[in-house]
């Protein structure tokens, strides 16, 4: 009994399969390839909203039975897992050795490792630890015709040929179906502290982050959220138009030093401290923070991801607010202040927004964003709106090169067709 997925972005799923092993997955792909059936790999389903509507879904291949840790060597700080393993299950196992995989995307209790790799999902601690491309050491992939390949290995340094790992990260299952992964893991910090600060504007919050970083503070995460966003994780936060959340993970002494230094900087440079949390409370608040921008049950929402250079972020923030006003939506803004990414979640309480108007507003915002060298990706919106725009908005000359890559790896165009950039 496969899953019960009637559709993906309004496109019906014709058939589903739940392979019990990599061999079964490869066999299923081989058979589908012979019959020219389009294939869509599905992990925990937490990011199925990402991408343009597929051209067709003749076969959904669920990876959820390909689970479990293949090899874990705490002394080497490496772990190999099957693609269908749930992130939180892996974290629990690593936690027993006081280690963790420093990826904190939304919904770790449901997201599979393969899925988060295919979507290049990340969260607040990417500021310190980077994204999947900084952590993935090895990968095994089932290609469209069922061929299995591996690349990289269990080694932290490896320059044996092309770095194929990079190619599959974020490729949305359009080049192959990920079956197994090896990661570099990290020791947990001895102590973690969280500081919440209030600022009148995003600009003020961002200026503060620059000041903190120049003063040798080394936070794991730097998040600037507007009041509506902040209220989803903290109560009594109405008074702060913008909240800055800093997470420090280090030795106990180094965390204490940073908290002292931060207090000095705040007292001399503006802003006010709302709260300081210790290790246990911090883990809880960041768990909630990771999923806040992508709540599970939110059918009618619009989620945008905008990235730009630091210098343009406050201008883009203003335009994102204007978009919310134009569409009469409640606007929640989550800014990765360290990496200059702005997530916008637009929420309609009563009426739904008209499709054409929404698409026009998005395209306009994208034009402004592209003009300053940024990107605007529509991470989630109703399929009817998607049909009126390209959710990726990527049109650089490198797109042609990407098409050539796709053609080499999937000449029949069977893997997740139409979902990725440029209709790949």
């Amino acid at each position: 009994m496969p899953g019960n997925m009637p559709e993906i972005d309004g496109v019906p799923v014709e058939r589903e399969a739940v392979p019990q092993s990599v061999e079964e997955l490869a066999q299923a792909a081989k058979e589908a390839y012979a019959q020219n059936l389009s294939m869509v790999a599905v992990g925990g389903g937490t990011q199925l909203h990402l991408g343009n509507p597929p051209r067709s879904v003749r076969l959904a291949l669920h990876t959820r039975q390909l689970r479990g840790v293949v090899e874990y060597e705490p002394g080497n700080l490496t772990v190999s897992v099957r693609a269908g393993t749930i992130l939180q299950e892996l974290q629990d196992l690593l936690g027993r050795e006081n280690q963790f995989l420093p990826l904190d995307p939304p919904h770790p209790e449901r997201a599979t490792i393969g899925g988060l790799l295919a979507t290049n999902a990340s969260g607040p601690i990417r500021f310190r630890y980077g994204t999947a491309r900084d952590l993935l050491l090895g990968i095994q992939v089932v290609h469209a015709d069922g061929t299995q390949t591996r690349a990289g290995g269990k080694l932290v340094k490896n320059v044996t040929g092309y770095d194929m790992c990079k190619l599959y990260i974020g490729s949305l299952g359009t080049l192959g179906i990920i079956s197994e992964l090896t990661f570099k893991v990290q020791p947990k910090s001895e102590a973690i502290a969280t500081v919440m600060l209030a600022y009148p504007t995003l600009r003020a919050a961002l200026e503060a982050t620059q000041r903190f970083l120049r003063a040798d503070l080394m936070p794991d995460a730097l998040e600037a959220w507007n009041s509506a966003a902040f209220q989803t994780i903290a109560e009594g936060a109405e008074g702060a138009p913008w909240a800055l959340l800093l997470r420090f993970g280090e030795t106990d002494a180094a965390v204490r030093w940073q908290l002292d230094r931060l207090r000095e900087l705040v007292s001399s440079g503006g802003g006010s401290i709302l709260n300081v949390l210790g290790t246990a409370e911090s883990e809880e608040i960041w768990r909630r923070a990771a999923s806040a921008r992508a709540p599970s049950a939110d059918g009618a929402d619009l989620w945008l991801k905008l990235s730009a250079l630091h210098q343009s972020i406050t201008d883009m923030e203003r335009r994102m607010v204007e978009l919310g006003e134009r569409l009469q939506a409640r606007t929640l803004l989550f800014c990765h202040a360290g990496t200059s990414i702005l997530y916008g979640r637009y929420h309609w309480v009563q009426s739904e927004c008209e499709c054409g108007e929404m698409a026009r507003a998005i395209v306009e915002l994208r034009r402004q964003c592209t003009a300053i060298g940024g990107h605007l990706v529509v991470e989630k919106v109703r399929p009817e709106v998607k049909r009126g725009l390209d959710v990726w908005g990527y049109e650089a000359p490198a797109l042609e090169l990407m098409r050539r890559v796709k053609k080499q790896f999937d000449p029949k165009g069977l893997l997740n067709p139409g979902r990725f950039v440029g209709g790949i």
């Binding site: 491309r133 020791p187 002494a253 210098q311 060298g373 990527y394 000359p397 490198a398 990725f420």
Partner: protein, 530 residues
Amino acid sequence: MHCKSDRGKNLATNGTNRFVPFVAAFAFSRQIVAEQRKGSCSSDIISKFDPNSIPLGSDKVIQEWLLEPAILEELRGIVGAENMLASPEELMTYECDGLALHRHAPDAVVLPASHEEVARIVEVARKHGIPFIPRGAGTGLSGGALARFGGIVIALTRMKSIRELDFENRQAIVQPGVINLDLSRAASPSGYYFAPDPSSQMVSSIGGNLAENAGGPHCLKYGMTTNHVVALQVVLPSGETVELGSRAADCPGYDLVGVFTGSEGTLGVATRVVLKLSRLPQSAKTLLAGFRSMKEACDAVSVIIARGIIPAALEMMDRRMVRTVNAATHVGLPAEADAVLIIELDGLTSALQVQADQVAEICRQHNCQELRVAKSEEERQMLWKGRKEAFGTLGRMTRDLYLHDAVVPRNRLSEVVSRIYESADRVGVPLACLAHAGDGNLHPILLFNRTKDGEEAKILDLVREMLRICIDAGGTLSGEHGIGAEKNEYMDMLLSAADLEAMRHVRTAFNPDELCNPGKILPGRFSRFC
């Protein structure tokens, strides 16, 4: 078409190649070429890499390929006469990179000054079907910049301007010829630096670091070059210019920046590189420990990391290395040690003392005989001096050195080193070992004299055996030097036909005619030139 050799025939298949045979005009230069070849091509090993190399002692006329005068004229028109080299004497400098074992002169070397010039050069090469080879400072150790089949070397050494240092975004925009260390020097007054620090960083270029995905002692904590590349401007082998990635985070589409990095100059020529800058650590603490046995040193390394301490660097020298350094310098490494570790911690001052105490305690628990802790920057430099000069001191002991690069899981390091020693002893090849022990990255350095009969063959047999030992221990062919023309024929030892085919797909997507740096990375059977 006037190509005489098989190589010429192969090249001729696309119908556009305009190579013409050239008989070396000057007895003098011919003699030098012959001398060079005597040094490098004296055994069947080299002929494996270059099937057309001239057998030594034969009376065959030495033949080099030279581009048609009209093509040379086209190139000269792009870069100017003063920035093109085409005489045999000039070309000799470019017949190998840091891996002197393999040599082949290009037909021309051009030194462009701008992206536009690079694009025009590639267009000329493409139009005429001539191989072209991007080259940085030429310090690579796997023959990545070797003109295996002749052609045009595009040396990017003149493109060395740092265009922008943007500290708010922690990014630097540079041309590919910028020297690694120069970037850190430029950024450090503001408290930033470029983290990748290959041993060659005083001379190697960013473009070369990018091509090889260079590592260095500090990549244990800070990652390899690939972790510090943000975006690229690239001239593709088709002559088109593309921007890969973007300065803004998370560019949609495939991560072609990640694919290009470490592609050893086979996917195009990067003409502008956006790099990540890192904040200089508040302070650093350096310890040096001498151990009675390599096993104990390696065990100490594993325990340090298992305790949750990630040092910035964790370097190891073996007994022979220690003795050589002591004989040649005044560093005075622990004389009786079987292995010496240099452990550097960096970060917040308030964290370092506790961590340094923990590291010292772990070393003592593993019977370290001598432990030195640098108390000043001067002392820190002194502790590093032995490691930094280690390779150079070996040069005094022997005619030839072969610096090998392999990597194994770090907990297998001591076992692998002793197996490598057993193999080397069996065939009577002296060696010394350096290792980035924290990464499991091992550099056995083989000492030999290639003028002695059969030495080279012996060395290459040993190399194959060393690689086998590493692979059996879960290791791989290269940790930081790349595959290039050195190890491409060994790729089958590790990768399946399907794995290699996937890599070929990448090359075909970027470089369908294989004119861009042919004969590298993939085994010869994947190359129409071999």
